[in-house]
Symmetry: C2
């Protein structure tokens, strides 16, 4: 077996005369032929990389997987040799770093997602945990398949959100027997002492075999999905690198050529996509609360929320609250009563306005993932990811295909929070058209409320039936047992605030 230096390049050259086969099953590649082919490939790769950067329509994310010793670190170094490092980033994670457990597992992947026009190389991707659980016996067949199905949905979403995935599995000849044992005394960068040690928990030959079996199962399971795996024979390092380079070239060229499809006009009729019975007409908006009871109930709910979120049990949990509602329904006032019941150290309110350019260059959920709280903390979203199926749908900012797939994407997002022991709750604050008009007029008159009313509010008001249909679909398609919507009758601000805070206090006490 060839000895590979830390740097990869210089000694790889000498490794060409050793055994192994290239991807096409031909004979071993000699260094001269490699050098010649690499020079041509490299120029094409750079051309494609610069095209991608110039158009910035898509990002490319390479998932670099395989047994330790198959050359993940060497391939990484090779790509840094071939590509322009200025639009390239490595995303590598220490799976055992407890610091990373303070957020849901997917958080760090989202945090590091390359923006459009750029390339990311990810080592130890979301497949790491899935395979490890399967290999270590922690996940039965059903769980394993459910996780793969979810992963496929998320990868479809990333693809639709303009992230092209290139999934590579570096396969060694001895993969059948579970790869090679690690020997820290071997030269750094060699097969027995690889640069990247992703599978530190996999120790015995039996465990290595189970891991490889899980990998083959995974690859088989996902053969038909939109983003397939590419198996790269890894025994001959030079042939391996050329194969990876060629696959990447195809990927980069396709991503650079990609153009968004214009989606036509916004829908002109309030056509629903779900067929449940409408819930908005069933709300009794006349409900109210007298001042004394309001003050008492509010203070009581606030004290309960304060106690719950300061409790020991909450330290490993987290609270994510999304506020949506008609314009002037009282989101701001309700959020203020909630935030004053929380320790400011452990809480953030995120008002969702126009996205920044960093946010615009990434999938729509990115800006919400970035504010997902640490364990023990609360994040309050003043408007949220539901904008996708509300304003973006109604105003035509999102194509029909985009907002229609968003229901499932949102459910997957929230399910990932729940699975990480986060408590997710969503409030829709409902008022009727008369009450909204009254509040708009009042805002015009009241000096300190004047700022709360804009031309856009009057425009939105004209689309009331379109918004109502969007709300019905949203409630029907995203209300789940673990991530419920609470409909809040908000014609009375007192009733609304108390209902919200009591609902949260009850929820917290049930969860903790």
């Amino acid at each position: 077996m060839s000895e590979i230096g830390l740097d990869g390049r210089e000694r790889d050259m000498k490794g060409g005369d050793k055994g192994g086969t290239d991807d096409a099953g031909g004979s071993a590649l000699d260094a001269d032929r490699f050098e010649a082919e690499a020079m041509v490939l490299r120029e094409s790769l750079l051309n494609a990389q610069f095209d991608l950067a110039d158009h910035s329509n898509r990002a490319v994310l390479i998932l670099l997987n395989g047994a330790d010793g198959a050359g993940k670190g060497q391939v990484l170094n090779r790509l840094y040799e071939w590509l322009d490092p200025r639009t390239l980033a490595t995303l590598a994670y220490d799976i055992n770093d407890r610091r990373d457990l303070r957020h849901p597992p997917a958080w760090r992947f989202w945090r590091d997602l390359p923006q459009r026009g750029r390339i990311g190389i990810m080592i130890g991707s979301w497949y790491h945990t899935i395979l490890l659980h399967r290999a270590a016996g922690g996940a039965d067949k059903e769980t394993f398949h459910a996780r793969i199905a979810e992963t496929n949905r998320i990868e479809d979403m990333l693809d639709a959100e303009r992230i092209t995935l290139l999934k590579l599995w570096l396969m060694l000849d001895d993969s059948e027997t579970g790869g090679t044992a690690i020997n820290p005394a071997a030269p750094p960068g060699s097969r027995n002492n690889p640069l990247v040690r992703e599978w530190v928990e996999i120790d015995t030959k039996k465990e290595r075999k189970r891991l490889m079996r899980a990998a083959r199962e995974l690859i088989r399971e996902t053969a038909d999905c939109r983003v397939p795996w590419h198996i790269v024979r890894a025994d001959d390092p030079l042939a391996r690198d050329l194969t990876v380079g060629r696959r990447l070239l195809d990927t980069l060229q396709a991503a650079a050529r990609w153009q968004p499809v214009p989606h036509g006009l916004p829908p002109s009729r309030p056509r629903r996509v779900s067929n449940t019975k409408p819930v908005l007409p069933t709300l009794d908006l006349t409900q109210t609360l007298d001042k004394d009871r309001y003050e008492w109930e509010l203070a009581d709910a606030q004290a309960r929320i304060f106690a719950a979120t300061q409790s020991k049990a909450f330290r490993d949990r987290a609270l994510v609250v999304a506020f949506e509602g008609n314009d002037a329904a009282g989101k701001g006032g309700a959020i203020r009563r909630l935030r004053s019941a929380l320790n400011p150290v452990h809480m953030r309110v995120h008002p969702i306005g126009a996205p920044t350019d960093e946010e615009r260059a990434r999938p729509f959920l990115w800006r919400f993932w970035r504010h997902v709280p640490l364990r023990g903390h609360t994040a309050i979203y003043d408007r949220s990811w539901y904008g996708r199926v509300l304003v973006e749908r109604v105003e035509g900012f999102a194509a029909p295909a985009e907002w229609q797939r968003a229901y499932g994407e949102i459910n997957d997002f929230e399910a990932q929070l729940t699975r990480a022991d986060y408590i997710v709750h969503k409030f829709w604050l409902a008022i009727d058209e008369d009450e909204q008009l009254r509040r708009f007029e009042e805002r015009k008159e009241t000096p300190h409320k004047r700022f709360k009313i804009t031309d856009e509010d009057w425009r939105n008001r004209k689309n009331w039936p379109l918004y109502a249909a969007a709300v019905e679909d949203m409630i029907a398609l995203t209300s789940t047992k673990a991530e419920p919507w609470t409909m809040v009758e908000s014609n009375s601000k007192r009733f609304s605030r108390v209902k919200i805070l009591r609902t949260l206090a009850d929820r917290l006490e049930v969860e903790l």
Copy 2:
């Protein structure tokens, strides 16, 4: 003493008839007069807040300090009542959260710095630690004063970088005796059981007294500085809130009115600002290395760096390396050899290009602070904060006052990293004009290097003497014992790479 509800508002109203004095030393404020004054104040505050947001020339950062029980939480809630929450953020920190110790202490303040046009309210600011060390006896007078002096310099920098600070100290009548003892059984939000408990370590009456003595010392020390403290009498909650509101109004109005001063033309001559002997002419650029020795020395240095950064001793340290140099001096190639000697899990390379809009809206150091690595990790900056005193100086992107103050600002930044046990090293890769020309011509010819040469490179080349003067000043003014510059003779790429990697290997072995 008045009992204050969690929410602040409703019960504050009833607290007005209790004892206490307003800031001007007058009599207690009754609820009606408060209500009337607050309504006027609130409209002015909103006007100023919207002006600030519209112009986005400055950010406003309120540092809310004082003994626990003085009403930090209540003032916070009041400001949320008065202001528009959409451009308001709370920055509050749990000083004992060990998760925050994985970065230098200032990192989280930088992370959360409001962008221009916005308002941040910070609780437990950088003064928390300074005062706590002093009160607990951990900092002698000299250390205390040195920290205050550094803080003053950093606040001057923030001010110059368009962050207006409003430093408030809420002072209770009984502050002389160190405030009130905490009683968790008291109503939440009352003086004995405040919403914000910043000084949890301060327990006994003696400790409370020492804290107050340190606070008075701090406020006295900083009386003459550009950003003074405002002492707010806190015994009467209503008067306290009005005083805070008025101070904030002045601050917001001044910040909203602020206009940048045009700085005139870029300097036309390579005038130096330091008077040291030039170092560039003393470099022996003829130094080279034969291929065999290069390969051996490179591999040796890489192995040493790999071992050092994977060692147990490095887990609580971190490495920050900045690469600067003439165009075509070989930064990319050197960085590639360094990165392949590091575990990709614990390392990131940050190529510094044009700032994003999120970066542009904040002080120039923000984009570098955001990439400061976790402990145990390495951050490699491919170009760095030194752009401020190199390209920005020479091309006139920064005003003379801006780049001239940057030397000290950079020294303070790096000193903060060093004090947090980070290892900071800076490399200048020097080639001469002939070698640069040769490399530019070669890049034009070589297919895969064509991308590395742009019109800008030829333009920069014409300013060679201006850049040389800027480099001399940079080396003279920012080379320190703890954060050294290494000058790298780079006409020979082999010599250059080996010098860089050996220097880092030596440095790491000395530090660990």
